[in-house]
Symmetry: C2
Subunit: 344 residues, 2 copies
């Protein structure tokens, strides 16, 4: 470990509200000399992996979302971070320890020890605290088990199936004995879903020009949908709703197709709520924070699978702190697979 | 009771699939001499009240609904009926007994005794077997209690609040201690909801040209929605979704605004599923038939209220068997209050 003196503290400041696609112009890179002073129970950490997640774009909506107010302007972009302790004034953490914290898009952070969670690097690569053993894993696990409640033999359809959450839902659903259709963009992702993740069927939504033809194709493969884990919304969801089965469960985890504009002024789509009535189905919105206090339940089940190498938890790692805004943007253009991280 | 011989057996035959509003041209009136022969355990009944319900239009959709096939053409229009026994070959029913059966739009029916339910006329007017103590009551009670789960102090919004189901939901929600906003078409219905049914607030949706202004008005009154019991869909539902509160429960009971065309080719509306995510809310479709086996639970609670005169169960009664198709049509033009019946 190098000296902590004279290091540069880099921060990405969220400085401008985007109306469409988010990019560099909505952020300012700020460099300053690292302040190494620490109060009692404070810890200085260096970020090693910084998370880039679709929810960040939701928090930039000008309308109320899960938060009454949008992400404040002219502050460090909030984000989950895996870092290492550079200096500690807390008894429970020492130099070199790995930690998780919501310290945002910055190279360093000085935080109270209570805001950090220690990571055991012997269980899995530390970066998994931002993926399969972190927020995306929690979202996938509790969204599927609590709202989706899949049974063996049922058909589970996952949109955004090659993403951080979706790729885990595919695998968790298979472990429940369900038959899984993964929907993703592009033949390469589909091949990965089938060959590596064990999806029974895959569909490249980009090969369909409208919801009706996509619907027909899904019906041909599955004969109907019991559980739909939705990360994307839009045309894919329009295709699913008319072909749900009796007492289908639809989990709204994300609506990423609308994040680059459709949150502030709703896009138009077909009215399909009559299908909820026909099939006595349920749509339930789920959010990772609601299950934070139950993380131990999920880790007790999923960690052994990770340790045993039984789960695929692909990470797309972009190198360089400077890449953070463009990495966030790339979430919406859809080129990555699994969890998108920036390595510092 | 007049002689059962030489009576005319009238039937409304569903003869043509409607694409928009349903009317006379989709039905044929058939008259024949009444066949009075009865096999063992068969009963001959004369219809006294014939039901007209929005679900009839759903069953005429060319797409699969809750039933895999639409209502068959060239058969008697299916409907709930309150009738009187004219002749009986069954031990449990005798001439003059009041019964409920799904005998459809016909003046008489010869049915097996197992297809009839005896009505006790001392509990309430017999016509309530088609309303508050029948299918609409069951829908309102179980939809609200099982899917809506209202708590004292919560805000319950009811669309189609002056209808057969909605008017009961308003009163059931009040009995749960909720604050109730009834949405209906026209000042007269709104006054009735407030003065007679005890709604805390009412709104005439026809006074609003779009969902955004309606939304603002609802928010001004209620400060947000905990339970939304939806009978209508469309613009009213568009106005509610963005102002639901945390863990709101949305019950899809009907989507009557779409029944005259929007079921076969979905109309367009704003995409609003992101609000389900924001508020971790639930949309649940409910259907009366799912609670048929639990009718005794509902009757045990609601019958005493009816007998004590504590519930308003207004009936709009149209006189004359010939009026049935136009009565069905009038459900969608919205002039009636409470349960719409045709008296034979």
């Amino acid at each position: 470990m190098t000296s902590i003196e004279n290091q540069i503290h880099q921060q990405w400041i969220y400085s401008r509200h985007p109306t469409g696609i988010v990019s560099d112009e909505h952020y300012e890179l700020r460099n300053q000399l690292l302040d190494t002073s620490l109060d009692r129970d404070e810890v200085l950490i260096a970020a090693r992996y910084i998370s880039v997640d679709p929810y960040m774009r939701i928090n930039q909506s000008s309308k109320p979302t899960y938060n009454p107010e949008p992400h404040p302007l002219n502050t460090v972009q909030a984000a989950g971070v895996v870092g290492q302790v550079l200096a500690s004034n807390a008894a429970s953490l020492k130099e070199g320890d790995w930690v998780f914290g919501m310290t945002g898009w910055q190279s360093h952070a000085r935080v109270h020890v209570s805001a950090l969670t220690k990571i055991d690097p012997t269980i899995a690569p530390v970066s998994t605290a931002l993926g399969v053993l972190g927020m995306p894993g929690r979202t996938a696990w509790f969204g599927l088990t609590e709202a989706g409640k899949p049974h063996a033999g049922e058909v589970v359809v996952v949109s955004g199936a090659a993403g951080a959450v979706g790729s885990l839902v595919v695998q968790f659903a298979k472990r429940h004995g369900a038959k899984v259709l993964g929907i993703a963009g592009g033949a390469e992702k589909c091949a990965w879903l089938k060959d590596k993740l064990g999806a029974d069927w895959t569909l490249d939504y980009k090969a369909y020009s409208d919801d009706v033809t996509l619907s027909q194709e899904i019906l041909k493969l599955t004969s109907g949908v019991d559980v739909y884990f939705d990360n994307v919304g839009g045309m894919v969801t329009d295709a699913i709703l008319p072909i749900i089965k009796r007492r289908a469960r639809i989990i709204i985890c994300g609506q990423i197709s609308q994040y680059s504009g459709g949150l502030d002024v709703a896009e138009m789509g077909p009215r399909l709520l009559q299908h909820m009535l026909y099939q006595r189905a349920t749509i339930q919105g789920i959010l990772a924070r609601d299950y934070l206090h139950r993380m131990d339940e999920m880790l007790a089940i999923v960690s052994p699978w990770v340790k045993a190498g039984e789960l695929v938890f692909e990470e797309t790692i972009i190198d360089g702190f400077e890449q953070l805004p463009s990495a966030l943007n790339s979430l919406f253009t859809g080129e990555h697979r699994g969890k998108l991280l920036v390595k510092v």
